[in-house]
């Protein structure tokens, strides 16, 4: 198991390098010149050229890239073009907020999704099942920006029981986390249901019944553990979707997280900030994937053989 984790950790190195490469060159292709933006409107050609020189923007691209890469591995993410603050400092302020938001939304995804899926699977084609599945279908179909605004309108404006926006207390977490987690919960619910229905037909469930095992134990011990294997994959994938989701949700609810930082920086052509933000986000994604892989093996030891 330890060897496996070490091997998987080593595998992440080329992934990270690949990410920096892609991020760096895509930003080069985006129209807009950071030097022009920094110099402000109506600046002279000389000023722009001077800024460019100062930032090293007129060196060959590959040199710029390798320069960037080596400093990243030294823990230096560069400074913001906008306010000359170190990128890493800014990220370290923003990251915990996004992590907290992601944590609660994935919690909603898992708990709500699996509970709904199990309720559906226990009595398939019943009224309960149909209702849950229709709600899940809505959860998948509704765009999160609309869903977020509706939640905000209903709970904050009409009922006035939850704050509209910002990030101060645990109450502030509820609506954004729900907005972010709803789609995932719907997908997890559908996956859990179909996986459970598949598992419940297996021979070993019949064996457990023939042994005299209680129906609830059959569902949770014999069924769910087997049904979870594909669900874990889906939850892992939801983390990926989360990265995109935080960008939207943080903008809607005015939360100063990593997602919003990336969007603002893209608008400003603040290249080091964008690179740093995306790099950290991918790092988080890679780590989460690693955790998913480990969980996978924990739930299904057969994978060890392959």
């Amino acid at each position: 198991m330890l060897m496996f984790i070490v091997r998987r950790l080593l595998q992440t190195i080329p992934v990270i390098i690949g990410v920096t490469f892609v991020v760096f060159f895509i930003m080069q292709l985006v129209p807009g010149d950071p030097a022009v933006l920094l110099a402000g409107e109506g600046a002279s050609k000389e000023t722009i050229e001077a800024i460019r020189d100062q930032l090293g923007l007129n060196r060959p691209l590959l040199v710029q890239y390798f320069d960037y890469l080596t400093s990243v591995f030294r823990g230096d993410f560069g400074v913001s073009l906008k306010n000359s603050q170190p990128v890493l400092d800014e990220i370290l302020v923003r990251l915990p907020i996004t992590v907290e938001l992601s944590f609660f939304s994935i919690l909603i995804t898992i708990v709500l999704g699996m509970a709904a899926g199990i309720i559906s699977a226990i009595k398939p084609y019943s009224l309960k099942d149909t209702t849950v599945m229709i709600v899940a279908l809505l959860g998948i179909s509704l765009p999160s920006f609309w869903f977020g605004l509706m939640l905000m309108y209903f709970f904050s404006v009409k009922l006035q029981i939850l704050p509209v926006a910002g990030w101060d207390s645990i109450l502030h977490v509820i609506l954004p986390a729900l907005t972010l987690g709803a789609g995932g919960a719907a997908i997890v619910a559908r996956m859990t249901r179909s996986s459970m229905l598949e598992v419940i037909r297996q021979d070993y469930i019949r064996t457990a019944r023939a042994k005299g095992v209680r129906e609830s134990v059959i569902i949770y011990k014999h069924g769910l553990r087997n049904a979870l294997i594909p669900v874990i994959t889906v939850v892992g994938l939801q983390f990926g979707a989360l990265l995109g989701g935080t960008v939207l949700v943080e903008s809607i609810f005015a939360i100063n997280g990593l997602g919003r930082m990336i969007v603002d920086s893209i608008r400003m052509r603040d290249l080091p900030m964008v690179q740093g933000g995306v790099l950290v986000a991918s790092l988080v994604f890679v780590v989460v994937n690693l955790i998913v892989d480990v969980l996978y093996r924990f739930f299904n030891k057969r994978i060890e053989l392959n």
Binding site: D203, Y204, R206, T207, A210, K211, G212, K221, N300, R302
Partner: protein, 339 residues
Amino acid sequence: MTESNKPILEVKGLKTHFFTKRGVSKAVDGIDFSLHKGETLGIVGESGCGKSITSLSILRLIPSPPGKIAGGQVLFKGKDLVTISEDEMRRVRGNEISMIFQEPMTSLNPVLPVGEQIAEALRMHQNMGRKAAWERAVEMLKLVGIPSPEKRAKQEPFQLSGGMRQRVMIAMALACTPEVLIADEPTTALDVTIQAQILELIKDLQNRLGMGVIMITHDLGVVAETCDTVAVMYAGNIIEHAPTEKIFANPRHPYTQGLLDSLPKIHEDQEELQTIEGSVPSPYNMPAGCRFASRCPHQQPICHEQQPELIEQNDGVKVRCWMYTDLWTVKMVKEEAVK
């Protein structure tokens, strides 16, 4: 064979039907048999004749809907298993009546250690603690002949061979020392050499524990080797029920005769194997008369009109065929007279 007079399990007029969109499938349609302590009863028949449904019905494991026990009784130690509550039924399953299934590869939970799967039944039915149940599970693995049982108990099914898994299934079924063991094709999925070992094991454990065994199989070789009595099923009915030696020496029902004829024979020169012409009637559309009539070499008009009863002959053999009734002899005489 130690036989007391009172059977431990009695099945009377059991009917299990499946209610589907296509109609009602009468998979098991009124069967009777009984099982004594220490006795092995074989239920034989081809695929789809209702033998597995019979065994699942005894433990009330028929998937419902669409399946339903539509009539009859399953009497076990004075209780009718058809009518007792689900909770009472659960206490019978795996405790007093156990079952082994055909597919050892898929019948064990892939993510639980096999020891846990055995210990689970003990904790549930015998109120054993975690540690005691585990120790007993290891003992059971030893009893069914699994080497280094302490190590194996911690392993998961994928780490075991097919034969070993079937041994685990047997250990699981016998952990609570049940009075009846239902073995549904226990050796079908195994190699021939392993088959013999598993049958030997079941027999050996039966002698030690004194339980009654219902051996469900399509393999007449297994029947000859293990069973005291045999019930031959065809299309949801028992058509012949007799002590094993009598069935093999003198099969009465044309279907049983056909089954035995279709076995390859060692001492004769055979070019082709014998088969029974025709096919089994659809369970959705059973004929009014004898269900075997259309395939029977001796068929008469009466066979298509009315279903014969399962009637006991002078020597104790029960057979469901018009040929062994007075009606047949009278009729034959009449026909002779006409000629």
